[in-house]
């Protein structure tokens, strides 16, 4: 039995705690909750951002899912972009992290070097890589010309079939360093005894990786993959700076399309419907990835 005095003190403490949470909740509610709920409302309206909105029910969503070929194209582009970036960014990050695991001076220096692109603004990265890819003045083309492969130099940002992958390469370069740091932190938590035991048993480095590093790094991988996935769905600034979604919508992804729908076509209601589909999609993919990684983890 608790005394009435203690009960009263507990209630008082709870009230104080609630008051302390209020500023954070106010910020969250005004900057996230309210816009998110407003977005749901806008998705049911036809609105140009200036004149009075007109209620249209679920028409925006149904039209989007049944009639809009460009949205499907952007969605397909986004999924391909995500797949390429997630696979290569995760693979490179894990590979480099395994080599940079020890806290030697060289490794720390290299981690900083690899992390460096992450601190640049994405628009700057986009502009730099646009110059590198330029068919007339770009360093990549110049290098290919210098080694006699000039005639094979592709139009990195001009050829519709490779533009998206060229941007994906930039994205991988941009964020691999960040994922290396996450992986290094995760891999350093693996007990050294496991590797020592494996060495005593005569396991090769590959066997050690397969049997110890990979399964033990799965929780970190889940974080890296989920984070990279979200990054690929919000790679707006990079694509905007490099191609604007072109040529012929070849590099248009969902966020660039939402921007165009809202601010160029001035269809704010329809853009809200597109953004709802985007959020649902990201949630679903992230859930699927985590489920897959956990299943594998359980199987081991």
């Amino acid at each position: 039995m608790t005394s009435p005095a203690r009960n009263s003190r507990n209630k008082k403490e709870k009230r104080i705690l609630l008051w302390m949470a209020l500023p954070a909740f106010a910020v969250y509610a005004s900057l996230y909750l309210y816009p998110a709920l407003s977005n749901l409302l806008y998705a049911t309206q036809k609105w140009d951002g200036i004149t009075k909105p007109e209620f249209t029910g679920l028409r925006n969503i149904t039209y989007l899912l049944t009639q809009d070929d460009l949205f499907r194209k952007a969605l397909g582009n986004n999924l391909r972009f995500m797949l390429v970036v997630v696979i290569f960014q995760t693979a490179f990050a894990l590979l480099f992290a395994t080599f940079l695991l020890k806290n030697s001076k060289t490794n720390i220096f290299l981690r900083i070097v690899f992390f460096f692109p992450t601190i640049l603004s994405s628009v700057s990265v986009g502009i730099i890589w646009t110059f590198l890819y330029d068919p007339s003045y770009g360093s990549i083309t110049a290098f290919l010309k210098a080694i006699g492969l000039g005639s094979h130099a592709p139009l990195w940002l001009g050829n519709e079939s490779i533009t998206l992958y060229s941007i994906a390469l930039t994205q991988v370069w941009f964020h691999t360093g960040q994922m290396i740091v996450i992986y290094v932190a995760g891999l350093q938590q693996i007990p050294k005894e496991l590797y020592e035991a494996a060495e005593v048993d005569g396991a090769s480095r590959w066997q050690q990786f397969k049997g110890i590093t990979w399964p033990m790094a799965l929780p970190t991988t889940a974080v890296v993959v989920a984070y990279t996935t979200i990054q690929t769905f919000r790679a707006f600034d990079l694509i905007f700076a490099m191609t604007g979604g072109g040529p012929s919508y070849a590099s248009e992804i969902l966020v660039t399309q939402i921007y165009n729908t809202a601010f160029i076509s001035q269809k704010f209601g329809y853009a809200s419907a597109q953004s709802i589909v985007l959020v649902v999609l990201v949630l679903f993919i992230t859930w699927l990835q985590r489920k897959t990684l956990r299943v594998n983890d359980g199987a081991k």
Partner: protein, 482 residues
């Protein structure tokens, strides 16, 4: 009496003719030293050379008899009696615009204004043009300190007017008397002036005069000549048109030329655009298909650089500045950056109207007024007064001249002398032509304008006309259905 009267009149007429003839020779001579360029002399031998843009200025042009003669610059102003700027109240305002390249020159003008009127403060707030077009209305509507706001012609002007976000400036004397009246058109709605265009852009091809002279080339004056020129220049290893197909916006500039003579009048062209935007006409129909086909023909004739699909505006300017390209086809606003890349290009740039028909053209060139000043009605009355005063200051001839010369832009202000900037003088020729306001901006619905522009970029880059237009028609149908 009658005979004597006639004789007296005849003598008087002869005297006036002699006086005018003398003035015609003397006036260009008087400013010839200032231009300091070989193309500017006492005789009218080079088309396009002008003495400035004053009411008394002259321009060397082909007359009705086919010979070059000095003619009055067409100001289009009916009441050219400029007034001084308004006196400002003390205070501070924001001046919103998108031209980062003009920042230094504008800051110099602001500094002069603030020194002349202590207690005033004007702060430039610059956003890149794409975001400016898309976000500025939202920003300004919640920022009353943004008292002086520049607005793009077309969709942004329409949006600002829908939102009642511009003050009526019709009765301001500095608007009625300091601005070339014909240039005000894009800022007028229902007979009232809501925005005052500052720059007069000429979105016509700029060509390398030295290269043309060296090779004995003439600027093409019709479609057949244009395609022929492309083949000739290409055969010499020179890029005929440095068309930046990878840079949306600037790639769209030649669309103006393609549109301007695409039908018998601007009214007919406007009708086509309106019908496409209303879904009544398709881009696969004859009118737009005709325009698109010309892009394909230019591509086939070798007018554009190799790898044009990935050819950016940066590369286009670099190639033109380096003498690798004969023509930079976007407009006069490219002259400043080109000179920055290669100062030796100063005085070597000319302009011509891109005629893409073989019949007599309806229009001979393009003009545009995108940089328009407006006052934010949500600003306080004091801030509005300060904004008006600074706007009137910008619209005085001395200040406008400083801006024009410093930024290599023609302006829509009367009595501006371009003598200090030889390239502005050399490209003034276009002012004497029959110009039309850039017709690509007739597409005011972004959901239609974007796919239309992208389609033309793709076709100019070598894609099949029918396939691209069919896809584009489908995209427009989808966009209009939302």
């Amino acid at each position: 009496m009658k005979t004597k009267g006639l004789s007296t009149f005849a003598s008087l007429r002869a005297g006036v003719v002699a006086l005018v003839a003398t003035a015609l020779v003397i006036t260009p001579l008087a400013v010839a030293h200032a231009a300091d360029a070989p193309t500017f002399g006492k005789a009218c031998t080079t088309e396009g050379v002008s003495t400035g843009q004053k009411t008394t200025s002259l321009i060397c042009q082909t007359g009705a008899n086919g010979k070059l003669t000095w003619q009055r610059v067409r100001l289009g102003s009916t009441n050219a009696q400029p007034v001084a700027n308004l006196t400002p109240p003390k205070g501070s305002i924001e001046f919103h615009h998108w031209r980062s390249e003009d920042k230094v020159v504008l800051q110099g003008i602001i500094d002069d204004f603030q020194a002349k009127y202590p207690g005033t403060k004007i702060t430039q707030v610059i956003t890149d043009s794409t975001n400016y077009q898309n976000l500025e209305l939202s920003k300004v509507s919640v920022n009353p300190k943004a008292a002086l706001v520049t607005i793009f012609r077309g969709q942004q002007f329409t949006d600002f007017s829908k939102a009642n976000m511009m003050v009526d400036l019709s009765n301001e004397r500095f608007v009625k008397q300091n601005v070339i009246q014909s240039a005000l058109t894009p800022g007028i709605l229902n007979g009232k002036v809501y925005a005052v265009p500052y720059q007069s852009l000429f979105n016509n091809p700029i060509y390398n005069t030295e290269m043309f002279a060296k090779n004995g080339w003439k600027t093409p004056s019709n479609w057949t000549e244009l395609l022929g020129f492309c083949k000739t220049a290409k055969a010499k290893g020179i890029i005929p048109f440095a068309w930046p197909a990878a840079t949306k916006g600037n790639a769209g500039q030649i669309m103006n030329a393609m549109m301007m003579n695409s039908d018998s009048s601007i009214a007919a062209i406007t009708q086509h655009v309106n019908d496409i935007q209303a879904g009544k006409e398709l881009v696969t129909d004859a009118w737009f298909k005709g325009i698109a086909t010309k892009y394909a023909q230019m591509n086939t004739a070798g007018c554009f650089p190799d790898n044009v699909v990935a050819y950016s505006d940066v590369a286009a300017q670099a190639d033109f500045a380096a003498g690798k390209a004969a023509i930079y086809p976007t407009g006069t606003f490219g002259m400043g950056p080109i000179k920055a890349l290669n100062p030796a290009m100063a005085g070597k740039m000319g302009i011509f109207g891109m005629i893409v028909v073989d019949s007599k053209p309806v229009f001979e060139g393009i003009t545009n007024n995108t940089f328009m000043f407006s006052i934010n009605p949500k600003a306080s009355s004091t801030d509005q007064k300060l904004a008006r005063s600074f706007m009137s200051y910008l619209l005085t001839s001395q200040v406008a001249q400083k801006y024009a010369v410093g930024t290599s832009q023609h302006v829509s202000v009367i009595n501006v002398d371009y003598a200090e900037n030889v390239d502005l003088l050399n490209t003034s020729v276009i002012m004497g032509k029959k110009l039309v306001l850039a017709p690509r901006f007739l597409f005011t619905n972004g959901a239609v304008a974007t796919p239309v522009e992208l389609a033309l970029m793709a076709i100019g880059s070598g894609k099949d006309v029918a396939t691209v237009l069919a896809d584009t028609a489908k995209q427009i149908k989808t966009a209009l259905g939302v």
